[in-house]
């Protein structure tokens, strides 16, 4: 729902979103009733009993027990109604149906890694079928995170060393936000993504590795961002990974003292098995992408890195204009 183009209410994308919103509006209505009632009473008394002359004093009213009981008991009853309704919605939110489709999510400092049972793995991206309940089992590799789908009205913390879970059922196709809502360090606000709800048939097609559009290097650039490589490999080199600007063809010193020429084989190995050759002065933080990206995505990524070195000392001249700087946000 939007006013003058400004969204003021989130989409109800999951089945229980409307239950949460109904409860929200009930509480909103009762609170508005109380707030308006008290405000009107206060303003009216303020005007009606305004002090006429200086030494006037108010009437001597000590209090009244029935009135006190009235505005203690009634709020208690309303509070119990709110509690009961809230508890039932919560109970529904926290009990995933047995036949729910299972997805694993792992929070790692500043990216969400989703693992489908069929083997497909995604970073900061989640493709799910509409109309089927989905249970996500969440854990964390380092600090506390919290997987939050505003459009589905549900979130759960990711605790290192323990599994927590949430479930939802998306009603119709669409794209919605994924946020991390438990403060987790420098790039906490970059730990976001989009969940794409697809029709059942589209989802099956996607599972088989759907096609991508645009030139190889441009697709590589998009993948470079989607897979959150940009969060560590900054052009300035200050990131947690080495800069990838103008490195093709050069030799880099490695942690174990040896050195290696940066060519396609080196790039391919560093992506698939990132622990093999660690550049001197960097931590072995990079996740391995083995089985995470298909062959053509791998080639697209390598093309993108090559396009970052417009005049490589050895390899073939790059034809592509350098894409937008790697660090921009989606």
């Amino acid at each position: 729902m939007t006013i003058f183009g400004i969204p003021i209410f989130p989409e109800q994308a999951s089945t229980f979103a409307k239950d949460v919103d109904a409860l929200y509006f009930f509480i909103l209505a009762t609170c508005a009733l109380f707030a308006v009632g008290v405000s009107i009473a206060a303003v009216f008394f303020g005007i009606r009993y305004h002090k006429q002359h200086d030494s006037e004093i108010g009437a001597r009213i000590e209090g009244s027990l029935p009135l006190e009981l009235l505005w203690s008991v009634i709020p208690t009853i309303i509070a119990m109604v709110m509690f009961g309704w809230g508890a039932s919605v919560f109970y529904h939110l926290r009990r995933p149906p047995a036949e729910a489709m299972h997805i694993y999510a792992v929070g790692k400092q500043w990216m969400w890694k989703f693992q489908h049972l069929e083997g497909q793995r995604e970073i900061n991206e989640l493709h799910i079928p509409a109309g089927r309940p989905i249970k996500i089992t969440i854990s964390s590799e380092d600090v506390l995170h919290s997987l939050y789908f505003p459009a589905f009205r549900t979130k759960t913390d990711a605790i290192p060393g323990r599994y927590t879970e949430l479930w939802f059922e998306a009603q119709k196709p669409g794209q919605h936000h994924i946020f991390c809502t438990e403060y987790c360090g420098t790039n906490h606000s970059g730990m976001i993504g989009t969940v794409t709800v697809l029709e059942e048939t589209q989802y099956q097609a996607w599972l088989q590795g759907g096609g991508m559009e645009g030139t190889l290097a441009q697709r590589g650039a998009k993948l470079f961002n989607d897979l959150a490589c940009s969060t560590c490999h900054l052009d300035t080199g200050q990131g947690r990974g080495p800069t990838l600007k103008d490195i093709v063809g050069t030799t880099v010193a490695l942690q174990d003292g040896s050195s290696a020429v940066v060519d396609e084989a080196y790039l391919r190995e560093s992506i698939l098995n990132s622990q093999a050759k660690i550049v001197k002065g960097f931590q072995p933080l990079m996740p391995t992408f083995q089985g995470l990206i298909s062959e053509e995505n791998l080639v697209a990524l390598i093309e993108h890195v090559k396009s970052l070195s417009p005049n490589p000392t050895t390899a073939a001249p790059a034809a592509m204009p350098t894409p937008a700087p790697a660090g921009e946000k989606k």
Partner: protein, 541 residues
């Protein structure tokens, strides 16, 4: 009637001059003035970080500062505002100054401990400022492990030490008030003749004394884990980060009642004085303060509904959390009932009182959303929560603090401030506050998470509205500094009782003597009786 009044020759301000007479004073009033200056400095420091936050959030990409600088901004904003402004503000300034004269005592029970509390506050402040200057800390004011123990490489230990030390300042103030209120009331001052300001501070002191030690030990455990490599909360060695949250919130939820209860006490005084009428349901309002203090200790896990506590525990804490809402509602209803058939006048303190009632009402009621389990799953750690607690702390505690300051300024300094500018400031604060924080409710329900320096584009308009409101609010806070300082020199002489108030502190000269009363007062009247006040004024004039 105030024409030919003069500042009395002898009072606590000119009873001894020079730095030593201030730094080594045992007079609770001078300690209160030093606290006033210290927390005002801390308030504007915290405010600067708030300005940084609002500027950063004016644009979706968040390009005013880098991500980690922004993280340090909101962490320092939180730490300074919570531990160095809100918790000490009303108890240490107004409570310190007014509780002895209100109950007819010469001073607090332990004057030297009162001074020690001030020095401990300063030392804690120095530690936190050192941490701020030498690189800041970026864990958020909640210091959740494992990020604060192993993840962050910023000054966590110095800041934690600063808060640990400042906690003792809060404990000592609470201890002083409890013993004073129990053992040093003037003859005739029974418990049910105590002003409600004193009841509220008694309840606050209970919370300060019972809650603060638990965060002290939590900080010790965090410091020991981070500095010495111990493994109490370390998940790698089987520790439980959720246990840290339990121990942290066991203090930090009652801490929000340390911040709001004194303001509720100030409110009862303002509403009664400016309606010239006794408080409606005195004993209910008094006991509601105690109820808030005690219930505050059994509700803490409503901050942890999504952080891995069991479904059963979430339901128990959600049920208990509603028990705290009832006493707050009772207070608001009793204030409204006090207005009925009163002789209401709208001087500045009353404007702040009206503003407080409106904002505290919204703040309190939005708490119901967060206590309700079904909605809290969606709202936890979003800007809805930020708006809720700012409505309570800024709309409640700061409006109450400013209302109290404007009400007792003539008693503390003997001079009146300019009524015109102070009314403008009150309205500015009210309008600026609502413009700043109401949009945050909406953007919160949209799902904008807390502590984000960049957000999706569609949420920009609401954030820009909020940033605009923040500048109006900032201006509203600057004005009082100006006309208060101006009033010290040029303010009209206030005389003992400019507002015709009924408290015992209004029956001595202003500014009061060092020993508050020439001879120990004997109390015969009920707390809020204005009949004999007016009679005395007629006899005076």
């Amino acid at each position: 009637m105030l024409d030919k009044l003069k500042i009395p020759e002898r009072h606590y301000l000119n009873n001894g001059h020079g730095l030593a007479s201030w730094l080594l004073t045992k007079d609770h009033k001078r300690i209160a003035i030093m606290y006033l200056i210290s927390i005002s400095v801390m308030f504007f420091l915290g405010g600067l970080f708030a300005v940084g936050i609002r500027l950063e959030l004016a644009t979706p990409q968040g390009d005013f500062v880098q991500a980690d600088t922004y993280n340090k901004f909101f962490t320092m904003h939180g730490v300074i505002m919570v531990f160095f402004f809100l918790i000490p503000s009303i108890p240490a300034v107004l409570g310190n100054f007014l509780i002895p004269p209100m109950i007819g005592a010469k001073d607090l029970a332990f004057p030297r401990i009162n001074l020690l509390s001030l020095y401990i506050y300063w030392i804690g402040g120095v530690f936190t400022l050192y941490a701020m200057i030498s690189g800041g800390v970026d864990t958020g004011w909640t210091f959740y492990t494992p990020y604060s123990a192993t993840g962050s490489n910023t000054n966590v230990v110095p800041t934690a030490l600063g808060i640990f030390i400042a906690g003792f300042s809060s404990i000592l103030t609470g201890l002083n008030f409890i013993v004073t209120i129990h053992r040093m009331r003037a003859p005739g001052m029974t418990w049910f003749r105590l002003p409600l300001f004193v009841w509220a501070h008694y309840a606050t002191s209970l919370v300060q004394v019972l809650g603060t030690p638990v965060i002290a030990i939590t900080i010790v455990m965090l410091g020991v884990e981070r500095a010495l490599g111990f493994g109490i909360f370390d998940p790698g060695r089987g520790g439980d980060p959720v246990l840290f949250q339990h121990l942290f919130w066991f203090y930090s939820h009652p801490a929000v009642y340390i911040m709001i209860l004194p303001a509720l006490g100030v409110m009862s005084e303002l509403v009664s004085t400016f309606t010239k009428k006794t408080i409606f349901g005195y004993s209910f309002v008094a006991f509601s303060s105690l109820a808030i203090a005690v219930f505050g200790f059994i509700v803490w896990a409503h901050h942890m509904f999504v952080s891995g506590i069991s479904t059963y525990a979430a339901m128990v804490f959600s049920f208990l959390s509603f028990s705290v809402a009832i006493p707050s509602a009772v207070k608001v209803f009793n204030w409204t009932a006090t207005l009925y058939k009163g002789a209401i006048s709208f001087e500045t303190p009353m404007l702040y009182a009206y503003g407080f009632m409106g904002l505290f009402l919204i703040g309190g009621l939005t708490g119901l959303f967060l206590a309700t389990l079904g909605v809290d799953i969606h709202l936890h750690d979003t800007y809805f929560v930020v708006a809720h607690f700012h409505y309570i702390m800024v709309g409640g505690a700061i409006m109450g603090y400013l209302g109290g300051l404007h009400f007792w300024w003539p008693k503390m300094t003997g001079r009146m401030y300019s009524e015109f500018f102070s009314r403008i400031a009150a309205i500015l604060v009210f309008v600026g506050f609502n413009l700043t924080f109401f949009p945050q409710f909406v953007v919160g329900y949209l799902g904008m998470p807390r502590r984000y320096h960049s957000y999706p584009d569609e949420m920009q308009v609401l954030n820009v509205l909020s940033s605009a409101g923040a500048s109006v609010l900032g201006l509203g806070y600057l004005l009082p500094v100006i006309y208060f300082l101006w009033s010290l020199k040029y303010g009209q002489v206030a005389g003992p009782n400019p507002w015709g108030a009924s408290g015992l502190e209004w029956q001595t000269q202003s500014p009061p003597l060092t020993e508050n009363f020439l001879e120990v007062p004997v109390v015969e009247h009920e707390p809020y009786e204005y009949e004999h006040i007016v009679a005395k004024e007629k006899h005076l004039v």
